[in-house]
């Protein structure tokens, strides 16, 4: 019991020391020749404009929901479809019920007008 805790303690200490060491070493051995471009926030990329504290549209959740319907569904459907001929009737019906529930979500999105690209 105690040795197990000891291992956890060791890992804790190591976990904290290792990154610090890595940073230290690179700070010690790396050549330092700064210039304005290197010092910029993004060496390649667009400079930020304005503040980071901005409001953004919470309505993006609709895309998350649509994503669930169209994408996550396939994760469950691939194994189901591949094993379809070996499955008992109960499992086949279960799969169809699952598709129907997701379809209900799609119908909901459609009737609420969320499929309009505007």
């Amino acid at each position: 019991m105690q040795t197990e805790w000891l291992y956890i303690g060791l890992f804790l200490v190591l976990g904290m020391v290792m990154p610090a060491m890595a940073l230290m070493i690179s700070w010690l051995v790396a050549p330092k020749k700064p210039n304005p471009i290197k010092q910029s926030t993004y060496e390649c990329g667009v400079e930020t404009v304005g503040e980071a504290w901005v409001q953004f549209k919470a309505e993006y959740y609709i895309f998350a929901l649509a994503f669930l319907i169209f994408d996550v569904e396939t994760v469950f459907l691939f194994p189901w479809a591949l094993a379809l001929d070996k499955l008992p009737l109960f499992a086949v019906v279960e799969g169809i019920v699952f598709i129907l529930i997701l379809l209900a979500g799609l119908v909901y999105l459609w009737r609420k007008g969320e499929l309009e690209w505007a």
């Binding site: 109960f90 529930i101 209900a104 119908v107 909901y108 009737r111 609420k112």
Partner: protein, 480 residues
């Protein structure tokens, strides 16, 4: 047997399917015909109620011991379905008046009722957690249903954040119980304790955390912080449903989990439950006195009533008292639910479209302006206080009797004293209604009136013949 599995959960399954169907059907119902949605929702609840009543006398377990069907579950489920019906009756006119008559309201209510019904039947801690989430998630949305009104949005967000927080306690408690006993089945916990393989301190810690998680749902002090804000901010019809439904489901789970899984911890938990009950009664009743907003006052009153029911639960560890404690708690939940819908119904009727009309002073002159409504409110206030001839009195007598017989005389004394205190703020409403001048404006549709009238009539009539109810609740045993 797959068929029997579904039979144990048939009303819940039917209600879930109905709610899903309703969600889709509602999309094809135009905004000015939402009465159809409400009617269909009521039909689904009535159908589930019929199926539940058909389960009377049947017992069994299903889905590999995950759910159970016993007289307790049947009674609690019937109570929940009636609550759902009353809630739908209150909602339609109210939502239209507040201009928030969106059809999803009814689907969400149905989903929530289905989750609560699963809760009363849960025979495994994982199912308890699942059911808790299933009935809470729709409630979070319903609390925020009057969006974009900031009060309602605040209520929804607060309820959600604190609800998620408390669910963390519950799931951690379940994890500890699993750690102690290698099982999450309620019956399995008892077996593990009996064979001596369980680690009792760990089990006690788990049970304590489960108590915290469920104590949050039933609004027991000190886990009640969310209650006044959420009850005040949520649309009144939602508050009515939330106050009754979440309490029934929460206490049903508390009773089943503690009576069935943790009888061995009785000695350890009794002082904790004693303290929780006493604190809840004290704080709920005392803080309610200081409220001038009727919704906040009723919110604190609902906290206080959770304390009374916890009083019965304190006796759970005593094997002779167990059944009586469960019966008394169920009886009180029934009395509370009926009174609750009536009282919140009156509040909803007096609420103005702009969200005003909720201060105590707005009730001045109601006795003259609409005598029937004032009389109904008087009945509900008397029932909350526990004054004859109301169901609240019978429920309180039953609770106090159980508490005294179980030997917690101090707790019973606290209960009686805090009831006396509560008379002050309940009767203040009556005084304001009858003895002050004012021009209150009540508006409600026929269904709304029917719910208030039915609650008032049942609160009085059932109290005159409580024998039938007594035999009903004493038959509601926890099996398996």
């Amino acid at each position: 047997m797959a068929q029997l599995d579904f039979y144990t959960l048939l009303p819940t399954v039917v209600l879930m399917a109905w709610a899903s169907g309703l969600l889709i059907a509602d999309l094809f119902i135009p905004r000015d015909r939402k009465a159809w949605t409400a009617g269909l929702a009521a039909l689904g609840l009535a159908l589930a109620l019929g199926l539940t009543l058909a389960q009377i006398g049947r017992t069994g377990t299903g889905f590999a011991g995950m759910v159970t069907l016993d007289p307790f579950a049947v009674l609690a489920n019937s109570l929940l379905l009636v609550s759902g019906l009353l809630a739908v009756g209150l909602s339609f006119g109210y939502l239209r008046r507040r201009d928030i008559d969106r059809g999803e309201y009814y689907s969400l209510t149905l989903f929530s009722v289905a989750g609560m019904m699963l809760m009363t039947q849960a025979a495994d801690l994982i199912v308890v957690f699942l059911a808790l989430e299933m009935f809470s998630l729709p409630l979070y949305v319903l609390a925020a249903f009057a969006r974009p009104q900031p009060d309602s949005e605040e209520a929804g967000l607060k309820y959600f954040l604190l609800g998620a927080f408390s669910a963390g306690f519950l799931i951690y408690g379940i994890a500890l119980v699993y750690g102690a006993t290698q099982t999450t089945a309620l019956a399995g916990v008892v077996t593990a304790v009996a064979t001596g393989t369980a680690s009792l301190p760990l089990l006690a810690a788990g049970a304590g955390l489960i108590l915290v998680g469920l104590g949050f749902k039933v609004a027991a002090v000190p886990f009640h912080m969310w209650t006044p804000d959420v009850y005040q901010g949520a649309p009144t019809s939602v508050t009515a449903f939330m106050a009754a439904g979440a309490k029934i489901a929460g206490f049903a789970a508390l009773m089943r989990v503690f009576v069935q899984a943790f009888p061995v911890l009785g000695e350890k938990l009794t002082p904790i439950l004693w303290t929780l009950a006493a604190l809840t009664m004290f704080l709920g009743n005392l803080v309610a006195i200081a409220q001038s907003n009727i919704k906040r006052m009723l919110a604190y009153s609902s906290i206080a009533h959770a304390g009374y029911i916890l009083m019965a639960l304190t006796a759970y560890a005593n094997p002779q008292m167990r059944q009586m404690a469960v019966s008394a708690a169920l009886f009180y939940l029934l009395a509370y639910a009926l009174t609750n819908f009536g009282a919140w119904g009156v509040v909803a009727a007096l609420e103005k479209q702009n969200g005003g009309g909720l201060e105590l002073n707005d009730y001045a002159g109601l006795g003259r302006k609409s005598p029937a409504l004032a009389a109904a409110m008087t009945i509900f206030m008397l029932s909350f206080t526990g004054v004859p001839p109301t169901l609240g009195l019978i429920g309180k007598i039953y609770l106090f009797r159980v508490t005294v017989e179980a030997g917690f005389i101090g707790l019973a004394v606290i209960g009686v004293l805090t009831s006396l205190v509560s008379a002050y703020y309940y009767l203040r409403v009556v005084v304001v209604m009858y003895m002050r001048e004012g021009e209150p404006e009540a508006s409600m549709d026929g269904w709304h009136k029917a719910v208030i009238a039915l609650s008032a009539a049942l609160t009085v009539l059932l109290s005159l013949a409580p024998a039938a109810l007594f035999s009903l609740v004493s038959g509601a045993t926890l099996l398996f």
